[in-house]
């Protein structure tokens, strides 16, 4: 015992921790390093069993190791954690041997905490890195987009599985040839030019080109790409926009078709009117000659009827042409117009009919001036007022209320009469139809409402009708500001 104690005392300056532990597991002697490391005074150390200092998770391991070491001299040192007085973990690499002639054991331990924590932090970093890598790999593999890295020689060096899925080639096939070989011939030049930009460090956004699949189908790709670093490797992400492009092309084709159809219709209307007008004009003149010749009364009647028929025919054709012309933007100039003045003008135009029916027109314009097409506004006033006059009730004098006001972000223009009204249950969806008439009235052409609806809608507004038979009709026009 003395020898050992002396040995330990002499080793005051040794960095290793040296102690003698008795059979009960208590320290009998220890060098100062223990106190330095664990924070306990020597006196304290001698009063605590060694195992109590060991981290509770490592205690059984320590017990086992000590047993092993004592049975098998020269076996590997064991590593356990001790807890300092401050609660810190101290990693100790220890060996324990029987001191032959004395009671107790010699325990020599080395503080490897620093090594251990460094190692564990590296391990942790590595694990985190692996996790990150796996996450990135997952992202790379799961992405719906086509992701690639290509080298300065123009070959793909890394491709995500989406490539094979979309292109129909295996990954090896895709990496076997320069990527340009897969680009649509018409887009190769652009692609080369665009790729060249990257060597100046330019990042490409939204570059579009076409690739050809193994089956020869076109795939439209929308690229974002950037040079990774000075190695010249390029990182690219492409989105397959083939569907969207197809959709666009389809819409464009439909639009072109519609424009053509519309033009065809316009031409049709003009040609029809032209081809019909010539003979109608002739009929007019011929009946005129007939009238001037000597006719029997019967012949006179026929002539009259022919003339009337020709007039109706002529009018119908003019109406048809009017309808076609609404869609042409001739009268769409928007300007500030006074509602009051427009109303007065139209009243003047309809003065005969107003006098005849003894109609009363009451206006209340809370908004007096609006930005609108003057021709369209006149058309609205003219058609709606003349409709009210035409379809007035024989039981009462016509009263027409016209008002305007601002409602939210639009102007409401309301025409309300006390006339015959329309059976909306019966005709609701046809009121604004082409050549629809709802009264047994000879002068009804069924065009006015059709025309103004087209005009209002051409200026993004709406028109709605509310009517009750024998009570009256109310039109509400919404004008967008």
């Amino acid at each position: 015992m003395k020898t050992s104690s002396v040995y330990i005392k002499k080793n005051v300056l040794n960095n290793d921790l040296i102690t003698i532990v008795n059979d009960n597991g208590y320290f009998v002697e220890s060098n100062p390093q223990w106190s330095v490391l664990l924070g306990y005074s020597k006196k304290e150390l001698l009063s605590i069993p060694y195992l109590t200092l060991v981290h509770y998770e490592d205690r059984s391991k320590a017990k086992q190791a000590i047993k092993n070491q004592l049975q098998t001299p020269n076996s590997k040192p064991f590593i356990v954690r001790l807890i300092s007085k401050m609660g810190d973990i101290i990693w100790l690499e220890s060996i324990i041997t029987k001191i032959g002639y004395e009671e107790g054991f010699l325990l020599i331990a080395k503080d490897i905490t620093q090594k251990k924590t460094e190692k564990s932090s590296i391990e942790a970093d590595l694990i985190a890195l692996k996790l990150k890598n796996r996450q990135l790999e997952d992202l790379f593999n799961l992405s719906q987009d086509l992701i690639t890295i290509s080298n300065p020689e123009g070959y793909f060096t890394k491709l995500n599985p989406q490539w094979s899925k979309i292109m129909g080639y295996t990954e090896t096939e895709l990496m076997d040839k320069p990527y340009l070989a897969f680009v649509h011939p018409d887009d190769q030049q652009n692609t080369v030019a665009e790729a060249a930009k990257q060597f100046d460090g330019t990042t490409i956004f939204n570059f579009r080109n076409r690739y050809l699949t193994k089956a020869g189908e076109i795939v439209w790709l929308d690229w974002n790409a950037t040079a990774l670093d000075h190695t010249g490797e390029v990182f690219g992400i492409a989105r397959n926009i083939t569907k969207a492009i197809r959709q666009e092309q389809k819409i464009e084709a439909t639009l072109q078709e519609l424009i053509a159809k519309n033009k065809q219709l316009e031409d049709y209307a003009y040609i029809t009117s032209h081809n019909l007008r010539s003979p109608v004009a002739n009929i007019f003149m011929l009946t005129k000659f007939l009238e001037e010749s000597t006719l029997t009364e019967e012949q006179m009647n026929y002539t009259d009827m022919i003339k009337n028929s020709a007039e109706v025919l002529n009018k119908t054709m003019k109406d048809l042409i009017n309808v076609v012309q609404i869609n042409e933007s001739t009268d769409m100039t928007i300007q500030n117009i006074s509602l009051q003045e427009t109303c007065i003008e139209v009243k003047r135009q309809l003065s005969a009919k107003i006098m005849e029916t003894q109609a009363k027109i009451i206006t209340d314009f809370k908004v007096e001036e609006i930005s609108y097409s003057i021709a369209y506004l006149r058309s609205i006033f003219l058609n709606l007022i003349s409709n009210s006059l035409k379809y007035c009730s024989s039981k009462r004098k016509p009263v027409i209320h016209i008002s305007s006001e601002k409602v939210n972000n639009r102007i409401q223009l309301i025409f309300k009469d006390n006339g015959l009204g329309i059976d909306l249950d019966k005709y609701g969806d046809k009121v604004f139809g082409f050549r629809k008439t709802f009264h047994k009235n000879a002068s009804a052409k069924g065009l006015g409402l059709f025309i103004i609806k087209s005009q209002i809608e051409a200026l993004k507004g709406t028109i709605a009708i509310d009517s009750e038979l024998d009570k009256g009709t109310k039109f509400t026009i919404n004008i967008v500001l």
């Binding site: 003009y270 009117s273 032209h274 007008r277 010539s278 003979p279 004009a281 002739n282 007019f284 003149m285 011929l286 000659f289 042409i321 042409e328």
Partner: protein, 133 residues
């Protein structure tokens, strides 16, 4: 009143319209000279063949647009090329049943077209036309 030594010319493929114009012209002034051609080619051929004979060239041409063989536009294009040789002021009016804006606009491109009339034309219009010559 119209001067009867003036020559009126109608270029129109429609027989009935030809008849109507003849009838009105006759009514307005029974001795009015009226040349009638059924298409632009007949009209331009006549003018070419009588280019030197001022007294035989028309003073006023009523020109239809839609005609077979050579339409009104074709006639005007040919006419423009020979105007320098014509030593007479010939007034040309379009007389068509087309009120298609593309036609009325196109007519404006020809300086030598004095006006655009839409069928049917009545006695009063024709009378004032003849007087204007």
């Amino acid at each position: 009143m119209s001067k009867e030594n003036h020559i009126l010319c109608l270029i129109d493929d429609d027989n009935i319209h030809q008849f109507i114009i003849k009838k009105i012209v006759h009514k307005l002034s029974p001795n009015q000279k009226l040349l009638v051609f059924s298409n632009g080619e007949e009209g331009i051929n006549f003018i070419r063949s009588t280019i030197g004979k001022i007294e035989k060239l028309p003073d006023l041409i009523l020109l239809d647009i839609n005609m077979p063989v050579m339409d009104g536009w074709g006639f005007l294009e040919e006419f423009v090329t020979i105007t320098p040789e014509i030593k007479k002021d010939i007034i040309i009016y379009i007389l068509s049943s087309s009120d298609n804006p593309t036609d009325t606009e196109k007519a404006k491109e020809f300086e030598l077209v004095s006006g655009y009339l839409i069928k049917p034309i009545n006695e009063d219009q024709l009378e004032s036309l003849l007087e204007s010559v």
